[in-house]
């Protein structure tokens, strides 16, 4: 029978390999049967509260129990919304407001933070929920009503208007992604993952669900190791990690700091990078250090559930070349459309538009926003067919491979995270003492630069932004000007600021 629910991954493996370790955190781990037991208890507890097909916020640090909480929400027929202690309070508040969740699951670490949030619903403790009795018949009734078009999760990404956007993805799109990603990267029961991405993005799907599907294992790398590259690689070696799917910036940090001169991650057989363009110089250092390892470049927007394109990087690249994003996964199609919604001419740049079962459901409680980018395929006038406009540009090279070519708008990729420069500008402009603000991205050095005009000092501006924005969105350089240069239409003149920035740099 065809799989229609992500929980079938867990159930199949927990029956086959109950005592095998599934997830490992710092000083704690859970086996597949422990994950199943906790998730079913939490699912029963939520279902008894009468929750179904509604959001449940999971506000927990990155640890094995957080995964059990996610799956518990799915057992109840609900969708999980991961929140993180590293998000600023204001952002968590905005997200909770736009969700309208009735329950938030916390653990001992996050409960005190949760109580400061003015959350109108129930703040439930993970430990209490996981200790509630499992009710098999109740869970079965929920399962009978669940469809593969029901949402599994909602994750929040940067929104250009200053409010984060929730993207909801369903069982069908998650399964489609996991099956095809696993095929391409060759995951199996011997796969040992080290997870780098936070749990509040779709990036962590790459480890969580293949672990459940195959009976593999995922190690949650302690965050502070990313500040100590030699220790980080030693950690990978101690735990015989053979597969990592990390943000290009995390990989680049290891190679750029000269780590391979001291130690190499010997067990790695598969390295996938994505989230942003991996500089060829760093890629070469990796390939030299690990000549027998398979490297993959992955590309995909959250709105198409994880990744949707892949490229096996098995050749050398010149310093001016970009590593291609390759081609779509099976059962996904990429259209390159020009400004007039026609197919881009061969060799020409066009907007990447995605077609297929991998499309997410859309933006949470934002039908108008959804309709702007999830639209009828303009090349099809015969029947309804939805495609997603990514806003990313690409062209095909002479080998027919897709090559990423930037953005249509002011969205950037910084440290593997998607950032709307507009959201930073809106955050700065919210200060009464800031008259105008404009952000640039220095791609070469990977720096977000904020220019503003107003009475506020730079420290005040950064302080205010810290309350609203996650760390990865904070500008790396803040400059005050008497006034911002303007274009003829009265908007901030980015090009002029760009020139000013280049000049100052010299």
């Amino acid at each position: 029978m065809q799989q229609t629910n992500v929980l079938e991954y867990l159930e199949g493996t927990a029956a086959r390999l109950p005592d095998r370790t599934a997830f490992v955190g710092e000083g704690e781990a859970m086996t597949f049967s422990q994950v199943r037991r906790a998730a079913r208890a939490i699912g029963s507890a939520l279902a008894r509260r009468g929750l179904e097909r509604e959001p449940v916020a999971v506000f927990m640090p990155k640890r094995p129990q957080a995964v059990a909480a996610f799956l518990g929400c799915v057992y109840a027929g609900c969708h999980y919304v991961p929140l993180d202690e590293e998000m600023p309070c204001r952002r968590v508040g905005l997200i909770l407001e736009s969700l309208g969740a009735r329950v938030m699951i916390c653990d001992g670490t996050t409960a005190p933070l949760a109580r400061e949030l003015d959350f109108p619903g129930e703040i439930a403790s993970y430990e209490d929920l996981a200790a509630e009795p499992e009710e098999g018949s109740l869970l079965e009734r929920v399962r009978d009503r669940q469809l593969d078009t029901d949402p599994v999760y909602v994750v929040f990404t940067s929104g250009s208007t200053g409010t984060p956007k929730g993207v909801a993805a369903c069982h069908r799109s998650v399964i489609d992604y996991i099956e095809n990603l696993s095929d391409v990267l060759g995951f199996g029961r011997r796969t040992r993952f080290a997870n780098q991405a936070p749990l509040y993005f779709d990036a962590c799907l790459k480890e969580l669900y293949p672990t459940l599907k195959f009976g593999a294992v995922t190690y949650f790398v302690p965050r502070r190791l990313f500040m100590a590259p030699v220790r980080l690689v030693e950690y990978l070696n101690e735990n015989r990690i053979n597969t990592i799917c990390w943000a290009a910036s995390a990989l680049g940090m290891i190679s750029a700091l000269g780590t391979f001169q001291r130690v190499k991650p010997w067990y790695l057989s598969t390295v996938a990078f994505g989230g942003e363009v991996f500089p060829v110089r760093q890629f070469r250092l990796w390939r030299e250090a690990l000549p027998r390892t398979d490297f993959f470049n992955l590309y995909g927007p959250t709105e198409a559930t994880g990744m949707c394109c892949w490229y096996k990087a098995d050749r050398d690249f010149g310093p001016d070349e970009t590593i291609p994003i390759g081609r779509p996964f099976r059962n996904t199609d990429i259209l390159l459309l020009d400004e007039g919604d026609r197919p881009a001419a061969p060799g020409q740049t066009g907007e990447i538009c995605v077609r297929g079962a991998s499309l997410a459901l859309g933006y949470y409680r934002d039908f108008a926003g959804t309709d702007r980018v999830f639209v009828q395929n303009p090349l099809n006038d015969r029947y309804p067919e939805r495609i997603y406009h990514t806003g990313d540009l690409a062209r095909r090279n002479e080998r027919g491979e897709l090559v990423f070519a930037g953005r249509k708008d002011q969205q950037i990729k910084h440290m593997g995270h998607r950032v709307e420069l507009g959201e930073i500008e809106a955050g700065a402009a919210a200060l009464e003492t800031v008259r105008a603000a404009c952000c640039l991205y220095d791609e070469r050095r990977g720096r977000i630069v904020l220019y503003y005009a107003g009475d506020a000092g730079p420290a005040e501006v950064v302080g205010a932004l810290q309350k609203r924005l996650p760390d990865y969105m904070l500008p790396n350089l803040v400059k005050r000007l008497e006034r911002l240069p303007q274009t003829a239409s009265g908007k901030a003149d980015r090009a002029a600021l760009g020139r000013m920035y280049e000049q100052a740099d010299k």
Binding site: M227, A228, P229, V230, A250, M253, L257, G258, T259, Y472
Partner: protein, 75 residues
Amino acid sequence: MDELLKILHSLHPEVDFTAREALVDDRVLKSFDIVSIVSEIYEVFGVAVPAEEIVPENFNSAKALYALIQRLEDE
């Protein structure tokens, strides 16, 4: 020391680097900052920080970082 403080201040104008003792543990400095700091130290002091010295203990305060630079300069 002033040159080092200048480097740090340009990354985080809101932080008083003379007063902080746990820059890494308090997540003031991120891994991204470390890469910038290491490359700025190379440019300004002409000192290459070897990978094994890139640990929180050496980056938790301006003082510790300065001591590291001096130690590397002497070597």
